[in-house]
């Protein structure tokens, strides 16, 4: 099976810091954060009361009443972002519906609506059953496929916070080896009581906006959103005169087999995954300009990721900025990998390395370059995007202009 170069011909994003690629790009370049007080549900019982919520969202601006009532918040975000990417690409008229598919990563899925049903059930009240329609992660991809007439591959990766990064790598492979002509790949997830209460119960949510790689960081800020990219073979994209944003050069995944929540402290498995991703992308470590970190802002994760960087880049590690966009978007869980991959592609196109926001001072355990003081101009054309997850899942993508 011959692998071909896979290019990105469309981008779409919908999250707390921007409801389109244009808005998100502005925020990325200016270092604007979407983390602010939450009002989606009652957060008063928790130490943290902030996150990156999509404020002012009215489904009726995007869907008619009937459809809006049927789709979960996650499904809606996914359909909106995938739609932006597909319209941007303009590629769907060029292929048979059976040659076009969807690959996405999910997280809490329709839990936000499911919680309304469960609470009513516990209180002996009846709620409309359609609140449960999106409870499983596959509903969003099914809706995207149906609405945009994509009859080819349909799959949903659910490896928590690495889901959507894996979904992009997998989609790129389906295109590279000729199994599909066009894939829309990404992820969608929303804030929910389950994840907000759950992470708070584990005491890994920072009461202040998350401060990746900073002194005194206390954990994550949660977020929500969706991001997608359209992938095609380079030769097909050229043939139809498509705009090309960049390429997915390769990816790697693994399980650490260490612990359900704690990363393997040495970062050796993470380092192996980064190296394998580079090898599969046929990229030398010297070609990588910067890395979009998983960078959650939890005390342990940031140190482990920094350790992994040192193992991969050796003496050059301090010269390869390891940045986190989570200070801007919050941790969007199942959508995080896709949002960060899209952010990486946008940054490559703008020739910047984004800033890691919310700096609180230098941490001796995080002694690399994190662009805490501002974004930088760069002529780098290759960057990596890392995602780590509950269960020890690790994914790394290699992206280029």
């Amino acid at each position: 099976m011959i692998r071909k170069r896979v290019v990105i011909t469309g981008l779409g994003i919908f999250c707390g810091v921007g409801k389109s690629v244009a808005e998100f790009s502005e925020a990325l370049c200016s270092g604007r954060s979407g983390i602010q007080p939450l009002d989606l549900f009652d957060v008063s019982p928790f130490p943290s009361k902030i996150g990156s919520q999509i404020k002012g969202y009215d489904p009726l601006n995007y869907f008619d009443t009937k459809i809006a009532r049927k789709l979960s918040r996650t499904d809606q975000f996914g359909v909106i972002a995938a739609g932006e990417a597909l319209r941007d690409s303009g590629g769907t008229d060029n292929y048979s519906p059976y040659d076009m598919g969807v690959s996405m990563g999910g997280g809490a899925a329709g839990m936000f609506q499911g919680e309304i049903w469960l609470k009513a059930h516990l209180e002996g009240r009846e709620e409309r059953p359609s609140l449960l329609r999106g409870i499983l992660q596959d509903q969003t991809s099914t809706d995207i496929a149906r609405i945009y007439n994509l009859s080819g591959y349909q799959g949903t990766v659910t490896t928590a916070c690495s889901s959507s990064a894996t979904s992009i790598g997998w989609a790129a492979d389906l295109v590279a080896c000729g199994r599909q002509k066009l894939m829309v790949a990404g992820g969608a997830d929303t804030l929910s009581i389950l994840t907000f209460a759950g992470f708070n119960s584990l005491r890994v949510v920072d009461p202040h906006p998350c401060a990746p790689f900073s002194l005194g960081r206390q954990g994550i800020s949660l977020g929500e959103g969706a991001a997608f990219m359209v992938l095609e073979r380079e030769e097909d994209a050229f043939a139809r005169g498509a705009r090309i944003y960049g390429a997915v050069l390769g990816y790697a995944i693994a399980g650490e087999a260490h612990h359900m929540t704690a990363p393997e402290p040495g970062g050796t498995v993470a380092a192996r995954v980064l190296c394998e991703a580079l090898e599969r992308a046929a990229v030398d470590v010297s070609q990588v300009g910067w890395v979009n970190a998983h960078g959650t802002g939890t005390p342990l994760n940031d140190v482990v990721e920094s350790n992994a960087m040192k193992q991969v880049f050796g003496e050059r590690a301090p010269m390869v900025p390891l940045i986190s966009t989570k200070g801007m978007t919050g941790h969007c869980l199942g959508a995080a990998g896709a949002i960060e991959a899209v952010a990486t592609v946008i940054a490559l196109n703008r020739h910047i390395i984004p800033q890691t926001l919310n700096y609180r001072g230098p941490d001796p355990g995080c002694d690399l370059e994190y662009c805490h003081y501002g974004s930088r101009l760069t002529d780098s054309t290759i960057a990596m995007s890392n995602s780590f997850a509950f269960g020890g899942n690790v994914t790394s993508l290699v992206l280029s202009l």
Binding site: G106, M111, P129, Q154, T158, A254, G255, E256, H258, G391
Partner: protein
């Protein structure tokens, strides 16, 4: 989307289902006739007459320490146990293998839902004091694959997929690709699912459980895949060969026949068929394999979203050497999978 697969073999499989522990329990049920379904207690759905395929007689502490078992959700307990049984069936001793060359790709059904419901119930009824933090990590659908990897030490590719009634087949396809690409020598693949009264209530509320609909079930089925070269090096018994995988996401409006043609191609050569998910409910799909003997585990142990691992194992254990077989899986509105096998040399 058609993919011819080369050089991937099946060397082991196992399952836990309503029929019992191991794939032999399903075979025995097939020989004996009847089913392993039991009545859903009337207080669950408010009336009698509904059945499900619940796993009885499974004791997690037979497969792991009681302390570990307590921390895991039921889907994870199933996955850890069945992964061990499947590895044993494959004669694989992981101590002799580089852990990064062994991976796992599982389909998930309702994995994580019971823990999510328990965690939220604690919060809704007792506020922050009612939350049980220990439960939260196992609310993710990938906990079965991750717990199996932690218990057995797989450090290769690790992934979980959910795609309606084709969750296990989605995982199977990815597992094959990872071997094909050289990312792993051994991949465990299949699916895990559990049923609790709340899930049944929810599914019923959505109108998917009626007195005439196929009953839901739970359990786990795992198949051990290896590159042919790896299996040959360790002189493993080859139970089956993976020949091809085809999938479509849905039938395009006005082009349904084209979709079904793409999916099944010529089914002439297969002499044994297994049906998974809602494939049984699709006459247009069944027409394409009419006249062939069919194994339909859903009717005897209950259907589940990730039943494909068990259904494939039930097919594979029935294969004669060289016998061509077809596994068809479907969800009501897609996706659809057609996976072709042929019997190995030592079935």
């Amino acid at each position: 989307m058609n993919s011819h697969i080369s050089e991937i073999v099946v060397t082991g499989y196992s399952a836990i289902s309503a029929a019992g522990i191991g794939i032999a329990a399903i075979q025995e049920l097939g020989r004996r006739g009847g089913d392993a379904l039991t009545a859903i207690p009337s207080d669950v759905l408010g009336s009698d007459g509904y059945r499900w395929g619940k796993v009885d007689g499974f004791k997690a502490s037979d497969y792991m320490s009681p302390m570990k078992a307590r921390k895991m959700d039921r889907c994870s307990q199933f996955a850890v146990a069945v992964a061990g049984l499947a590895l044993k069936d494959a004669g694989l001793d992981l101590k002799g293998l580089p852990p990064e060359r062994v991976g796992i790709a599982l389909g998930s059904g309702f994995c994580g839902v019971s823990n999510s419901a328990e965690f939220l119930t604690g919060y809704f009824t007792g506020g922050v004091e009612g939350m049980i933090p220990m439960i939260f990590p196992n609310t993710v659908p990938n906990s079965p694959a991750s717990n199996a990897s932690i218990e057995h030490g797989f450090k290769g590719p690790n992934v979980t997929l959910v795609q309606r009634f084709c969750s296990a087949e989605s995982a199977f396809m990815m597992a094959c690709r990872y071997i094909e690409e050289g990312r792993a020598d051994v991949m465990l693949t299949g699916g895990s699912d559990e049923l609790i009264p709340l899930i049944i209530k929810g599914v019923k509320a959505m109108g998917q459980i009626t007195h005439t609909s196929a009953p839901f079930g739970e359990g786990c089925g795992i198949v051990v895949l290896e590159s042919a070269a790896h299996a040959a090096r360790r002189e493993a018994a080859v139970k089956a060969y993976v020949e091809a995988i085809t999938t479509i996401g849905m039938l395009a409006s006005g082009r349904e026949h084209e979709g079904l043609d793409l999916l099944t191609g010529s089914a002439d050569s297969c002499s044994l068929v297994s049906l998974s998910g809602t494939a049984t409910d699709m006459p247009e799909l069944l027409d394409r394999v009419s006249g062939r003997p069919v194994i339909d585990t859903g009717f005897v142990i209950g259907r589940s979203l990730a039943m494909g691992g068990t259904a494939m194992a039930a097919l594979l254990v029935s294969l004669q050497p060289g016998q061509p077989a077809l596994h068809l899986a479907a969800s009501q509105k897609g996706p659809y999978f057609a996976i072709r096998f042929s019997g190995g040399s030592s079935v």
